[in-house]
Symmetry: C2
């Protein structure tokens, strides 16, 4: 199989409300990624770097990728900022795969970063919305909680599903997050707690929403040949897929899922040459609980309207037949926007190497990451395997 | 030669203070690029799209790449936003080359866009600075005119050069811009005018600074095999190079040039396997007149301190031995931030096909584009040829 790349190292900062500034978070993730390469890595061999960040709060809006070279300690490194809202990390990873697969760069680093809590509440409100359609929806007052509330209303109504299915997503992901030392929330919650939490955007309550988090993650990619020299257990990127959709939600045909996720998944499965049944573990983009249900359907793991029953039956628990978000997902691990897609790759790197500790999915061989930008205007799906 | 891609079409809007909004500008450039493909192009065959934009003024800060699919009219197209300040276009082009060279996408579109004039003056002041180092320099009041004023002072002092060399860059680029129907400024100026213009940041006067412009540009890239089916005269990307530098200017070793430009040029020449003498025409990043002098030296077309004499001798005029910025450059054509690097590729596509009309450089066979982010914290150099 040509056109491939492999992950040989991965690093991660804590996610949460953190004292560290953006540069320190980035450095933690980068140092961790470099240190994790089994046979050691000469940083100066890195040929290109990608920084995924929305630049939340504006600490460095333009040209931020240069900071990656500084914090990695590789003067002059060619660096590129990739921004596709909450899917920035997933898309940056795909650009890195292309950089390697093209033969232009044999060794590439991808980092995702967001510092979200260190801004005033007015700025926070502003930046939380900037990835929504500005012309018609954001300026009219539609927030992302509002959009996902609309999707959840439509879903519960159309498929006659009870809010317990949403609560079950939260309970599962908090249970997983409790086993992840990097997670923003590390406490299990009860279903009644989730169901009775204050409403944010009906029917979504507090426990249906991911938190606002600081954090960074990084992975190192290499050509398959170099990867085998750097480690005995590289994790291969077998297939990538991506798509877009109308930016404004009101211009979509359908509120019961994201066509971008469907197209991206179809492309990734085609490229990887695997079937849905072949996937051992999934990282799905659960910015709100409803998003995980929609993702299961959009990715083709069940039919439309079937994700609620699948979830309530326990299939997506860590011990179920299709473990989803073993690291706690955006819901409990946290969602530092640009970092999220890279954090998904970090988690699957650990899972496929059997190195995920207390949250390990036994025998994981093939994995899928699903990263959504905004309310589905962009989506990236990536399939990984042990080779 | 593997790992290559070829430009098969290019489009361009007017640059200037324009009535059109960002979507209309983008559409003009995209429609032009598609229409310019000699044997016609089925848009639905486009597999990936790159949007280079700083998002100046904030009309759509996050997830803006989805707009590219909408304005191109290809629903679901995978789209990626690339942002490296004023070098966004040059880096987006390189990502597109990698997408093609990796075998992941056979046909790719790259668009650059900025709508800079439709914002309040307070917002304009804010956004003009966001690509400078925020922590130490921007917030202390250092503007880009300020930075380049410092570089110009150092240059004139160190090499005992007269301000006439700066004025000559302005005169030459305005003369070229007068032949470019898309240029922001289409009027020649006299050297005395440039020398006596009001100071912006001493020694730089009004005519030493590029304008604030709206505009968009787009190119279509294909694999060499597909390119030969789409046109008899594809323009090949023979080599790309890129680099970064410290974001803060105060942390650099040297104010007499940009090390990122030097590294990027060396890498591009190595990849393309051509010598400096082999270049027929150059697009250099002249955001200020001093930047064109520094570029000539950083790119290796002359020694350090020699660009002033080279320029005063007329070597960089359209009729000289090394024509630089035949389209008027950022100085006269305008500088809609994200569009600039793509506009350079547009110009060289025309020049290498002998289709640049009144501003044609006779017999151009090999060309170089040089695109700088901010004050040299990122730089991209790309070498093109007729094959």
């Amino acid at each position: 199989m040509g056109h491939r790349a492999a992950i040989v190292g991965a690093g991660h900062s804590r996610f949460g409300v953190l004292a560290e500034g953006p540069r320190a978070l980035l450095r933690t993730a980068l140092d961790g990624a470099v240190a994790s390469v089994d046979r050691g890595l000469d940083r100066s061999a890195i040929a290109r770097g990608y920084l995924a960040t929305l630049g939340f709060g504006g600490w460095q809006i333009g040209n931020a990728s240069a900071v990656l070279a500084e914090e990695l300690g590789v003067p002059g490194l060619p660096t590129v900022r990739v921004e596709n809202a909450c899917a920035s990390g997933g898309f940056a990873l795909q650009e890195a795969v292309q950089a390697v697969a093209s033969g232009h760069s044999e060794l590439v680093v991808v980092a995702g970063l967001e510092k979200m809590t260190d801004v005033s509440s007015a700025r926070r409100r502003y930046w939380l919305g900037v990835s929504g359609d500005t012309e018609w929806e954001r300026q009219a007052g539609l927030t992302f909680a509002g959009v996902y509330g609309l999707l959840a209303s439509a879903y519960l109504d159309r498929y006659r599903v009870s809010p317990e299915a949403l609560a079950e997503v939260a309970v599962k992901n908090h249970e997983n997050g409790a086993l992840n030392p990097n997670a923003h929330f590390q406490k299990p919650i009860r279903r009644e707690q989730a169901l009775s939490s204050p409403k944010v955007a009906d029917p979504l309550g507090l426990y249906d929403c991911c938190p606002v988090s600081d954090g960074a993650a990084a992975v190192v990619l290499a050509s398959p040949e170099l990867a085998r020299r750097l480690t005995d257990s590289p994790v291969y990127v077998d297939g990538v897929g991506a798509a877009s959709d109308r930016l404004a939600v009101q211009e979509r045909d359908d509120l019961l899922g994201f066509s971008a996720s469907r197209r991206a998944a179809d492309a990734a499965f085609r490229a990887a040459g695997v079937r849905r049944e072949g996937i051992s573990v999934v990282e799905a983009h659960d910015c709100f609980t409803i998003a995980e249900l929609l993702a299961l359907e959009d990715l083709g793991f069940c039919g439309r309207g079937e994700a609620a029953a699948l979830t309530l039956a326990g299939a997506t628990r860590r011990t179920g037949r299709l473990p989803v978000n073993p690291d706690g997902g955006l819901k409990a691990k946290g969602h530092p926007i640009g970092a999220t897609g890279v954090s998904q790759a970090y988690e699957l790197f650990l899972q496929l190497r059997g190195a995920a500790g207390a949250r390990q999915v036994p025998g994981a061989r093939t994995a899928l990451a699903h990263n959504v930008g905004g309310a589905g205007a962009t989506a990236a799906v990536t399939i990984f395997s042990t080779g």
